[in-house]
């Protein structure tokens, strides 16, 4: 199987995206501590292996666009990248993190397998250019304000910079204030474009800014949102998992505990075609 521009789906020596096995991108929203990261990575790797999924570990070293300026942002780039590297090498799994500036894209690209462009920044050409230059796989999240066509045009821009390894990620669209809905037509359009397609079940359930200075969300909707996305057809599923979501330092209302994550992964096995 190849994706658009002939990319074979390889993101890591041990992983190539393929329709035969769904890829799960998962980890704590923020890399709160080395221990938390390893706990989630080990648990999710084991679960994915048991259920026949590929696995990519995800975590952020800097939550640079929090709703409020008074909230935790993470361990910072140096420590965060060092922890990501440890997870990658110890567990032999690909790792993903998000970047916010062209400089970060190049530096993080030295360590991680997938650099992620945040939704708000999906159309920032300087950032996309730097991500392309990193040579790594790039996941672009669709801006809550952007049409699927805009996202596909961003992917085409990255490819025109010489890097065809692009994942398009649907994470919901603005639907009135403080609310998101998932338009499943987008998954069809994204896949039809030939790029690998990802669904982010965690952020699609968010209610941005609805929690008096922080994002709240509808965690109980995540299993259904994920199941529908898998049924429509995706190459990878993104979901944030935390050992104790209620105590998480970011996105506490939409991160999943291990038990719920496991239920989702078991449920969608029958739906993936």
């Amino acid at each position: 199987m190849t994706f658009k521009h002939g990319w074979n789906g390889s993101v890591h020596p041990a992983l190539a995206l393929t329709p035969r096995a769904l890829t799960i991108i998962s980890g704590p929203c923020m890399f709160e501590s080395r221990e938390t990261g390893f706990e989630v990575a080990e648990k999710m790797k084991s679960l994915c292996s048991e259920l026949g999924y590929n696995y990519v570990f995800k975590s952020s070293y800097d939550k640079a666009n929090r709703t409020s300026g008074n909230t935790a942002r993470g361990p910072g780039m140096e420590k965060g990248l060092s922890w990501l590297s440890e997870v990658r090498n110890s567990l032999n799994i690909p790792v993903l993190t998000d970047v916010h500036t062209p400089e970060q894209a190049l530096e993080a690209g030295e360590v991680v397998d997938i650099v992620q462009v945040p939704a708000f920044l999906c159309d920032q050409k300087a950032l996309l250019k730097a991500c392309a230059k990193s040579g790594k796989t790039i996941q672009i999240k669709k801006g809550q304000h952007a049409s699927p066509e805009q996202l596909i045009a961003c992917a085409d821009f990255i490819a025109s910079e010489g890097n065809p390894k692009v994942l398009l990620c649907e994470r919901g669209s603005a639907y009135g204030y403080n609310n998101l809905v998932v338009d499943y037509r987008n998954l069809v359009l994204m896949r039809r474009s030939g790029y690998a397609t990802v669904f982010d079940g965690t952020h699609a359930a968010q209610l941005p800014g609805a929690g008096s200075g922080q994002s709240s969300g509808l965690r109980d909707m995540i299993p259904s949102l994920c199941a529908a996305a898998v049924a429509v057809g995706i190459d990878a599923l993104f979901m944030e998992v935390h050992p104790n979501p209620e105590k998480a330092l970011s996105d506490a209302s939409t991160q999943l505990d291990f038990a719920t994550a496991e239920k989702i992964l078991r449920r969608i096995r029958q739906l993936h075609t």
């Binding site: 640079a64 300026g69 708000f120 159309d123 300087a126 809550q144 403080n178 941005p208 800014g209």
Partner: protein, 231 residues
Amino acid sequence: MSAPTFSHPPHGTCFVNASRTQLNKSIPSTLRAPLLGLSDWRVGPDQLAPPFMERRGWIQPVCLAVTTPEEIKEKSSSFERFYIPGEFCRQGDVLSAAADSGRLILLERGAFLAPNDIVRAVEKISTAKANLILVEAGSSFGYSDRVLDPRSLEKLKRLNCPIALNLNALTGTEGHSYAHRPAWIEDPQFDVALVRTALAFEVQYLILPDTRDLNPEALELWHSSRKVVAP
């Protein structure tokens, strides 16, 4: 950081895209309001049109759209005004660097951001509130369309900062890639309603459309506002 040595642009000032590819198209021939150039963040400052200021005879530097803290630090000595596009209105580091620069900041409310939440972006640069202009660029309304919500203008007004209305974002061509975008929403007569709304909320500045002239009736309305200072 030393105190700023500049003032806000005169009431009624219009901003136009000053990149090489757009400049000739973006200055209405009948414009009688003060004019400032605005760089296009999507193409970057390298594409600014150098002959712009000589052509119109103004000495004020253009307003630079910025997207990273590094860019702000690097350009602080050459630009007096920075524009933070809506997509970046929650980027803490960008806002901090802009505040630290001591320059005039035009902060656009992201189309995805609820009007009630702009206050948190303002809090992130609260030290620079005296140097702040808030920019209303509409709210996402489905794909590739924005609507001007008067409730948002009301919210911005309560923050006691001057307001600019971004007509380019509200009527622009950014969303033309969406296959199902209806043609009727591009009716230039809507410019008049948008400018009327702006005047009703004491909006002080306009950002003009990039690729077409503003409807002459809308421009005349803007000129006729008693507060607009002729250049």
